[in-house]
Symmetry: C3
Subunit: 356 residues, 3 copies
């Protein structure tokens, strides 16, 4: 399978990664590989002793190893050592990454509105549509079938993968990455009944009153857009809705995984991590550096504090303090949850003993 | 940023919204805005006293206020008063909405099969594909990259956002809205093992029998399509599967949020609300005006009654009576769930007292 | 509504399905239909006695019936009998399926890179993009707006529905089906902090230490691709991420429903069923023939054994043994979960009796 191979000596690589080397650092490698799949031109990546067996079975001459590993005993001719191997992976995979096929210029099949502006060095792929008044920054790579709505603005060095939808008037900073079929700027889900409706009734009284049936929904239109900072990444198939009066906001450095839903008016801080299938309901606010595990749901208008960590599959129904670690549905402090879970597992025996 | 500004006097606006005005109603506004972001030409929207501070900090001369607010004390020159401010938002946002860029006519890059019919006044955007025999109603707006399969039918005044997929033979009523990348009419997920399989075994006996392994899956094809009533909206990235023999059905007035999954043969009544990331499994039936909160799952063949409300993150495994309010996984009546949750939080102390 | 009608006698149909017939088997039918909707040219499908009323109300002359049904008493002129009616549905719906509109050849609007190769008999639809070096097998049907990235390989008889994204270097076997807007080969969600971050801190100590804040995330790029076996189906809007060093893998015969997320480095065995909105986090391993119910989450690095069944909405946080049936969040053995649930429902009364 053709690949763009970059040959680099271990000494150059050690310098690029800022790590120490040992053995024959004149060996050149073309790829980073799993220890079991690595050949003589590959750098095997073995970040912990659990990979020792795979290393011996593979064909690598050199490896990135865990601190203290005996590289000679592992049958290697050279090794790189990183104090934090996982962090070294960032620079290592950047060195050997496969940038997507994105030749500079506008593909003949693309349609760019005459009033749009495209920065220097950009690549506009097949069947891309750029709407009137849109502004795309320098060196942007917009892959096949992506669309950018009227008056949207995207900063420099963006990478929009195939099928990404950027809605009208959305504003995005520099170095933005959107994975395939992500949607930025759909309308918010906001409807209102003329009189008190079923949900209001259920919240206030715990029951749906006979005079509070949802016989009609009036649509509240989204006048706002979406505003996204620098260095943000949004995963495949994820959706970010526009705000009602103001913009939905995502802060710089925040990374969002696949199939995540961000509702209207939500504000997400900087450097957050939102794992796959998270859902954040309308007007919720997520502080800086918060981490939401996979499938976490956050109810509307709730606040999650700075540096909070919400465990996977949790349902956050009330505010989470800064730096708290919460879990469960409804989410509570992790320590209390663990005591509760342990108690629950003992419960059947207890009830058996006490009778019903 | 260019916007289509519509200048309207407060007296005209009061009439359009059906609300009362006070102060200088000859003031004209061009936008509805958050109190903190509103300038002298904006109508600030302050639906409750919690916005009072923001109002004072902003630059609005006029605002839509909560009932009884002292508009002069808030530094305003005029005010509109709505008995139910949230309901007034529907007409207000309609007045100031930004309709998407959708010039009448067929974009030169679009491909419309010669046997398809397009209603008068429709807008067919860049790279849109309309298949053979498809019929699109009057004034439809079909934005970039959307596709409409063979023999599909879409009523008048539809709005399909970018990348929407309408499958073959799907039938949709009037005033339909689909947000970007929604999929109507994928095949149902329906497979069968030649002999009793793992799931049947687990359901019947609680264990997977050694002779009930899923060694082969035969595909049950979807012969049906999807039938959707009038005034339905479907969110970004949501998916609605076709039925096996008959059509999957969504009733008039029902609104569906982003990343929602509707399985094959499902019947959803009228005027329901399905919030983001809801999943409704095959052959389930949802009554009229039911509300499913975010991330709710409904098991296959289950019935949810008219006007029922299912709280966010719940898993509905058995039928829900009309007008019931249920919560939890498995979902139970809200009152019982609250007693259970309170008991559970006391449980660790109780067990500590009683010993294990 | 035009449909491709295939007229077949009941005797031929009985032979095709491998089932027994009774009555006038010279009757020809053109469609399989729900009993209530069936007309005189349709074969009504009534797999259980629960359909008897619908049958009597419909207009069918013939039906596929449950074993032992009295077809004459149901007003029919002929009947087919299947020992396992649901299994007969596979052949029956294949007989009457509606293949999508996909004429052989390359649509004039499609863009196929000159270095790509397309197998004989393939159909390449409107606005399809096939990247450099890609190889598409014989008789593939690639519908409107799908894209296949550089150097990807897809086997024979594939069916890619509208808007499917196949990323660069992805390798897929024969008879692959992808529903609309599915994404194969987005980048993995993998970021690392220079020093120990919030999640590591929370896992180790249960709290986020003041010196473990996620102030910066370095991106780990995905060097791997996705490798998919034969006879795999992937649902609408589902996303499968590439691996970091090696490929994410999906085994032959595995079927994946809509809006499912498969993380980087995940290995899924053969003949698995993953229902809608399942999420499998990075590096998890799912054994052969496992069944994950709707909305199941599987944590990173966890192993689910062969033939295991995970009930809908469960959260799998630790390894699941082969053939186990688990449920809950965190998922535990079904028997233990049922005892726990029963105990919990008794708990409020127990606590009331014991006092707090």
């Amino acid at each position: 399978m053709p690949q763009n191979l970059r040959r680099i000596t271990l000494s150059d690589l050690a310098r690029a990664l800022g790590v120490e080397g040992a053995g024959d650092l004149s060996i050149a490698v073309v790829r980073a590989a799993h220890p079991a799949e690595a050949g003589p031109e590959d750098l095997a990546v073995a970040a912990s002793p659990s990979y020792a067996e795979a290393l011996k079975g593979g064909g690598a001459r050199a490896a990135l190893l865990w601190p203290g590993a005996d590289w000679r005993a592992l049958g290697l001719e050279a090794a790189l050592f990183a104090p934090r191997p996982r962090y070294a992976m960032a620079a290592l995979t950047q060195t050997f990454q496969h940038p997507p096929h994105a030749p500079e210029g506008v593909h003949p099949s693309a349609v760019v509105d005459p009033s749009a502006s495209i920065g220097p060095g950009a690549s506009i792929g097949p069947f891309v549509w750029i709407g009137p008044g849109a502004r795309i920054g320098a060196r942007a790579r917009i892959l096949a079938h992506a669309s950018v709505g009227a008056d949207a603005r995207i900063g420099d060095d963006a990478l929009l993968h195939a099928g990404v939808r950027v809605g009208e008037r959305v504003r995005i900073g520099d170095r933005f990455i959107a994975q395939p079929n992500a949607v930025i700027g759909g309308d918010g889900f906001s409807f209102v009944t003329p009189e008190k409706g079923a949900v209001e009734s259920a919240r206030q009284t715990g029951a749906v009153a006979a005079d509070a049936l949802n016989t009609h929904h009036a649509r509240i239109h989204s006048l706002g857009a979406v505003r996204i900072g620098d260095d943000v990444e949004i995963g495949a198939g994820s959706t970010v809705d526009r705000g009602t009066l103001t913009d939905t906001r995502i802060g710089s450095g925040t990374k969002i995984d696949n199939l995540v839903q961000i509702g209207h008016n939500v504000e997400i801080g900087e450097n957050c991590l939102l794992c796959a299938q998270v859902g954040v309901a309308g007007s919720a606010r997520i502080g800086d550096r918060a981490v939401l595990g996979g499938k976490v749901g956050v109810a509307d208008h709730v606040r999650v504090g700075h540096d909070a960590v919400v465990a996977a599959s949790s349902g956050v129904g009330s505010n989470v303090p800064p730096r708290a670690v919460v879990i469960g549905s409804p989410a509570i402090a992790r320590d209390e949850w663990m005591r509760m879970m342990m108690a629950m597992r003992r419960l059947p025996r207890l009830i058996g003993r006490l009778g019903k």
